[in-house]
């Protein structure tokens, strides 16, 4: 019987207590466990607060690294970027063995295409840090998940769950992510017009609850004659 593959899942979100990245990572981890692999989920935000969480050692010991992250300003969040810089520096210094690397990037825009640059950055990281590139998944409309467990979200998430199941098959077997997983993940969750309508309503609703509804369009740093 072969040794179970160790998969380190790195959550790039800084959100707490529960982020969309974490929901996706946990669903993937449970699917990996079902397939006999050994997933371990790490959160860069926790690592930033607790230096005893040794992500770098875990990555060294894993057979593959899976990055699950939100899109921040068209690319990877700061904490994740800093972690990847450390991983690359360590791997270059130690000539670490070849491991697989895959990623899942999600964004709050309804279209998955916004994530393409972030996925390209992960691919370039793989090249520079000596990982074997296994592929990238791109999800638009991540606000639909909003940190809830995927199993509770019904039919709207069926393509996401199917994609993650195929991803778990591939990672557990040490294979690249199949095209079907990539295509399923990139399918729109809901109609784009409906998503933006609900999204715009949602911002107003949240601001109203926090007493800031009338301030939503404020310009606190606006140029004036005094500061121009």
């Amino acid at each position: 019987m072969s040794t179970p593959r160790k998969i380190a899942i790195l959550v790039g979100s800084a959100r707490k207590p529960h982020s969309t990245s974490e929901s996706l990572a946990e669903y993937l981890a449970s699917n990996l466990s079902l397939r006999g692999a050994e997933p371990q989920v790490f959160r860069v935000a926790e690592s930033a607060r607790d230096s005893s969480l040794d992500i770098l050692t875990a990555v060294d010991q894993a057979d593959a690294l899976m990055i699950v992250t939100p899109l921040y300003m068209d690319s990877l969040p700061y904490l994740l970027t800093a972690t990847l810089e450390q991983i690359a520096q360590r791997r270059n210094a130690t000539a670490a063995g070849r491991r697989g690397l895959a990623c899942l990037v999600h964004c709050g825009f309804p279209e998955a295409l916004h994530n393409e640059i972030a996925i390209a950055i992960c691919r370039q990281f793989a090249k520079e840090a000596g990982f074997e590139w296994l592929g990238g998944l791109s999800l638009g409309g991540g606000a639909v998940i909003a940190g809830k467990p995927l199993a509770e979200l019904g039919g709207v998430l069926r393509n996401v769950r199917r994609s993650l199941a195929l991803t778990a098959d591939a990672l557990a077997a040490g294979q690249p992510l199949p095209d079907a997983a990539v295509k399923l993940m990139a399918k729109p969750l809901i109609n784009r017009w409906v998503y933006t309508l609900i999204g715009n309503f949602g911002w107003k609703h949240m601001a109203r609850k926090l007493g800031a509804r009338r301030k939503l369009n404020d310009q606190p740093y606006r140029r004036t004659d005094d500061n121009a």
């Binding site: 979100s13 800084a14 959100r15 707490k16 982020s19 935000a45 930033a48 939100p70 921040y72 300003m73 068209d74 690319s75 990877l76 969040p77 700061y78 904490l79 970027t81 800093a82 990847l84 810089e85 690359a88 825009f109 309804p110 279209e111 295409l113 916004h114 640059i117 390209a120 950055i121 992960c122 370039q124 990281f125 090249k127 520079e128 784009r192 933006t196 999204g199 715009n200 911002w203 949240m206 601001a207 926090l210 800031a212 301030k215 939503l216 369009n217 404020d218 310009q219 606190p220 740093y221 606006r222 140029r223 500061n227 121009a228």
Partner: protein, 191 residues
Amino acid sequence: MKAIVLNGATTDNDALEVAHRIFVDDLTARAWQVAPFILRRTEIGYCHGDFGCWVRTPGVCVFKDAAADAAMTFIRSDLAILLTPITFGGYSSELKKALDRMICLISPFFMKLKGEIHHVKRYEQYPRIVAVGTLPEPDAEAEAIFRELVRRNAANMHAPASAVTVILNHEPAEPIRAKLRGALEAAGVQV
């Protein structure tokens, strides 16, 4: 005219230091007010992704540190200069920590722009963006990713124009100066 320089060097970087000095000296000599931020020496925490700057205190991050000064200076500038070692095709972590905190400058509301959904402007006016990336040696893939990242960032930050130039570490000052001037011209900045 005003310019902000966001210097994302993670360590001492000869080419970025040369570029930083050229920008500050040349623009100052032409009566620009230049506000440089050496980000590795600036206390800026990470974006917590809580959207507080959109729905709790709209336009201002709820965490108080130097990011507020950087964001205010950015939006009041005519030109934003981004300096970074190209890191896996993207920005360095030092530049990224500052840029992540700039989402307070746009509105949470969605709009359609050139067939894609983007966020609505919060302000009438945004700075032009010139980005300078350094590489230890030519890398066409990293450079292509970097150029596309800056293009998309400029679109999402509603920059009226943007330009990118890539310089090599240890490149002499004069070729760097020529590239920077070309980038400023490409972004429509008269120097």
